[in-house]
Symmetry: none
Subunit: 153 residues, 2 copies
DNA sequence: CCACCTTTCCCCACCTTTCCCCACGTACAA
DNA sequence: TTGTACGTGGGGAAAGGTGGGGAAAGGTGG
């Protein structure tokens, strides 16, 4: 499966209609591993978007349905995350149209968009927002902390 | 295995298309020890690139998947490091094409590139950037610190 | 219910990057 | 010199990404 994970960082531009090309290697994985030409797009708390193969999203919904639906954190989670998922198909050029509300949440106002391949999902960021978010943490203390937890670099 | 470790410092030039030859001894190790003609290339926090045999990279991903995915340091690590990995194959002349985003990160703007063989991985630096980075550290305090940690020189 | 405006979808066309060749120069050894 | 290994450079085809026009769909207000 090593060859079938989402991986790599791609910068693409979004046009005035809200369309972005999904990087070709990601489309290829969706087609070959999952047999699909679509993905589920959801809003994530830290002001970015996540795209999942429908199969992976199904697992998330399944887990979600087991949670206590009266807990206030769970309600928040349902309302913000679970309810945000939209199914998007690629057009003939391999693009998706990101809904306006999703663009707004992730502060995507045209310009450059970043696709991050993270094993079984894809994160989508406004490039500038990503840069400023990442600048809030100190890389060397992150390295130390990862090292303590047993991660490798 | 002593003869099968990456070792040595090689200066090579990158062309206008972003291609660099991978030093022949490194290619040989990849072929003979790992049976491959490709490598995984990732961006490292200190503004350089690291190349791993796919086998070594697989270990990194495996360790990474065990970390708590809601921790803010872990998210940073996923977003910056894990997601940056790209699989690159050698062309017929033994070169790789370094993706534009990776070149940008490592401040490689054409000119000279440095390959450092470090046991089971390879670091790739812009030659000028490497020189100025190394100049910021005081060699004798580095030696002391290594000595305290039990390293040998 | 109709007219209008906006958003979405589908098409085509262009440009840049990537990929796959082949060729040349240099260094080292026979 | 001749052969071989290695690094460098460039041309041309293919793929990937970008932009825009125009029809269809959907929503809004009179």
């Amino acid at each position: 499966m090593l060859d079938q994970n989402f991986r790599g960082r791609h910068t693409l531009s979004i046009d005035s209609k809200g369309r972005v090309s999904v990087p070709a290697p990601f489309r290829e994985i969706l087609a070959e591993r999952y047999g699909e030409n679509r993905l589920m797009l959801a809003t994530v708390f830290d002001r970015c978007l996540r795209a999942y193969p429908t199969e992976e999203w199904a697992k998330i919904e399944e887990h979600a349905s087991g949670l206590s639906s009266t807990d206030k954190n769970v309600k928040f989670y349902y309302r913000h995350f679970i309810s945000s998922a939209v199914e998007l198909e690629f057009d003939k050029q391999g693009r998706i149209l990101i809904p306006a509300s999703h663009r707004e949440w992730a502060e995507i106002n045209g310009g450059q968009v970043l696709f991050l391949g993270i094993t079984d999902k894809i994160e989508i960021w406004d490039k500038a927002a990503y840069a400023s978010k990442m600048a809030t943490l100190d890389p060397s203390s992150v390295e130390d902390s990862i090292n303590e937890m047993g991660g490798k670099i």
